[in-house]
């Protein structure tokens, strides 16, 4: 397929997926496997949820055990957990094929960047499904529920009767981490003892969510036939991850409390999970980010604002980072006064424009929607916290949507018409507004002939380039978001150290 064909297949498939999921969620009252007889979702919440799961965001404005049937969870949501992850992987390998394509050098004259359906099937069958089967059983061995029975009537030790929730949680929790989806089966996500019962299951879940994102930059090196190129990208991602872990765990140990945390994880494992779930676009949480100390809560926010490129979501992290690589190559070209090249292909204005579009789209959405929400009563009424922390809740929501992360400062009451619709838009543009320009770059690069390297060629596989890329990532996000961060988490931090109570 050429890039346009590939992109159209992606969009058609995603459209069909949103439609199917929407119908399942709205019509769950008439569908099987609904022992608690939940009614269909309201249309705006169903639309928000359908877009959320198809875009690999898994933002949740509902609570699973309160609102969804087993059919909606397993046949609706979990299927999209797999397919949205597979779509990210498919687009990533297609983009890499475009970069690696050698015209007339055994690569053939065709300008194809792969077949969407083949890439989807391979991602599911060879990677996601086998890993999920193993992981689901490991989680079940730790106590994650996996049952289709109705909620169990129980009498507490003090004699109070109540229904105990149940469900096929292990099968869904497995792919939720492996596919960096993050949508919890239960409302409290991975802090719920039925979804993450032990310190061991916690470690397994953390490894599962970084596994495929860690593999992608290395896969990239192999696919372009120059492993050092992949290792440079990997090293930049790892450096950003190390900074995040240091900042988040450090501030949580110094300033954090146990509010919104589970005893079995404690402060450091909660902070570590918060970093890993936001460098990847997973978004599962084992502690409430809203109750992290202000600077520790800012780390997940910054991870998302960087564009989910510090490893990022499965596949999406790599193609997101490649947009920044192209910008870095362009800047390096300006600095040394040569026309920019990357892996033997000339980078021209079309590629730069498309890469800028992929970078600007999510960042613009974050700031524009946040500005809208803080100016309207319908935006402010949902806040749980006053003062700068309230601004953080809104910033986090639109960052999480645009970055397709899905975690939240959960105090924000997001199940309103305003938030459901603005966040659905945020998520959709944040996903496809990056995928389509990146596929276009792939198509454009695939058609280019190779330029022979010479003494003046700027090397992109060494520490100099890695450092430059690191700073480009930080500067783009910093220039865009630092003003908002000073009004949110940074001000919040100083209020806390002053002992303020709002």
């Amino acid at each position: 397929m050429g890039w346009k064909d590939y992109a159209i297949a992606l969009l058609a498939f995603s459209g069909a997926s949103v439609a199917l999921l929407f119908l399942i969620l709205v019509g769950q009252g008439h569908l099987p496997l609904n022992p608690q007889r939940f009614k269909g979702m309201r249309w705006d919440l169903a639309l928000n949820t359908a877009v959320s799961f198809v875009t690999n965001t898994n933002w949740q404005a509902y609570s699973g055990e309160v609102a969804l049937s087993y059919f909606s969870q397993s046949v609706g949501l979990a299927v999209q957990n797999f397919l949205s992850a597979a779509a990210g992987m498919a687009v990533a390998v297609a983009v890499v094929r475009g970069i690696a394509h050698r015209r007339g050098e055994g690569g053939g004259e065709t300008l194809g960047i792969g077949n969407f359906w083949v890439d989807m099937t391979r991602s599911v069958l060879y990677v996601l499904l086998p890993l999920s089967l193993v992981l689901a059983l490991v989680l079940a061995s730790q106590g994650v529920a996996q049952s289709l029975s109705a909620y169990v009537p129980a009498v507490s030790l003090e004699g109070k009767g109540e229904l105990l929730p149940m469900g096929p949680a292990a099968s869904q929790a497995a792919i939720k981490h492996l596919g960096t989806n993050g949508g919890g089966f239960f409302g409290p996500n991975s802090s719920h003892p039925f979804e993450n019962p032990t310190p061991l299951s916690n470690i397994v879940e953390m490894i599962a969510q970084i596994l495929i994102p860690f593999a992608f930059p290395l896969l990239y090196g192999r696919m372009v036939g120059k492993r050092r190129q992949g290792r440079v990208v990997f090293a930049v991602m790892l450096a950003l991850l190390a900074i995040g872990v240091w900042a988040c765990v450090g501030s949580e140990i110094k300033w954090g409390t146990l509010e919104g945390k589970e005893t079995r994880f404690g402060k450091s494992d909660s902070a570590l999970f918060a970093v890993l779930t936001t460098i990847t676009s997973c978004g599962a949480v084992n502690a409430m980010h809203d109750s992290l100390s202000p600077l520790a809560g800012m780390v997940p926010l910054i991870n998302i604002m960087l564009g989910e490129v510090v490893f990022g979501g499965v596949g999406s992290g790599l193609y997101g980072m490649l947009a920044l690589v192209i910008i870095t190559v362009f800047i390096a070209g300006l600095m040394v006064g040569r026309s920019p090249e990357y892996l033997g292909k000339k980078i021209e204005s079309r590629e730069i424009q498309l890469a800028m579009l992929a970078i600007i789209a999510p960042n613009f959405l974050i700031l524009a929607f946040s500005a809208l929400a803080v100016s309207l009563p319908v935006g402010l009424v949902s806040l749980a916290n006053r003062g700068p922390h309230g601004l953080s809740e809104i910033l986090y929501a639109y960052s999480s949507g645009a970055g397709n992360n899905g975690s939240a400062f959960g105090g924000l009451a997001a199940n309103t018409l305003f938030y459901n619709l603005t966040l659905a838009t945020d998520m959709a543009i944040g996903r496809f507004g990056v995928m389509v320009p990146m596929l276009a770059i792939a198509g454009s690069l695939a058609a280019k002939s190779l330029v022979a390297p010479n003494a003046g060629t700027f090397k992109t596989d060494n520490a100099t380039f890695g450092t430059l890329l690191l700073f480009v990532v930080i500067i783009i996000a910093g220039l865009t978001h630092f003003p908002a961060l000073t009004l949110g988490p940074i001000l919040d931090h100083f209020l806390m150290t002053m002992g303020a109570a709002l």
């Binding site: 397993s74 409390t257 589970e262």
Partner: protein
């Protein structure tokens, strides 16, 4: 061009749904029910044929005869569980913590451990710190009129639970639901029930 891809999308979606939405969860359910039936079914606590909760989910314990669980922002609801989501400078949080501190100091005559001041993430955290469990033992023993031997056995049970839970990873902790279930079933503690 877009419309031409729709039929293919629907066919693909159908088969993927059959595989990932039906076959996959069915296989996982079957296998986990076969290998780990107790855990896959929610680690239920069953006494005399009646389900008394799950050892993984906290319950509301108000009677002095039981060890208290960590504070819950959702009042220990099994369905609709959740957290306060209050930030560091929240006046509401400060007020709640002050009330919990006062209640603890009044009830147990000792400074409150941190985990008993702050609400958990899930609202259903079944664990408390070893410190919080030991601090409550005296009041529970008094409410159950435990003799010195039973009191010593209670402390030993708490320490054994903490040691068992800690393992190689994770902080030392005591599962308060299992501990309270033990109080109700172990004759050493249950026998005193008549007196208490």
């Amino acid at each position: 061009m877009f419309l031409k891809k729709i039929p293919k999308s629907i066919t693909f979606l159908f088969w993927m749904t059959v595989m990932l939405g039906v076959a996959y969860p069915a296989v996982v359910t079957f296998a986990s029910q076969l290998i780990f039936p107790r855990r896959a079914n929610g680690s239920l606590i069953v006494m005399k044929g009646e389900v008394r909760g799950s050892s993984l989910l906290a319950q509301k314990f108000e009677s002095p005869r039981f060890f208290q669980a960590r504070p819950s922002a959702s009042d220990y609801a099994y369905v609709g569980a959740g957290a306060s989501n209050l930030g560091s400078v929240s006046a509401d949080l400060a007020k709640a913590v002050a009330a919990r501190r006062a209640a603890w100091e009044k009830g147990f005559g000792a400074p409150a451990p941190e985990d008993m001041l702050y609400a958990s993430a899930s609202g259903l955290d079944p664990d408390i710190s070893l410190e919080a469990a030991l601090a409550q033992a005296g009041r529970v023993a008094a409410a159950r009129s435990l003799g010195p031997d039973a009191r010593a056995a209670l402390d030993a049970a708490i320490r054994a639970a903490a040691a068992g839970a800690a393992g190689p990873i994770g902080p030392p902790r005591v599962n308060v639901v299992s501990l309270n279930a033990l109080l109700e079933t172990d004759p050493a503690f249950a026998a005193a029930r008549i007196g208490g």
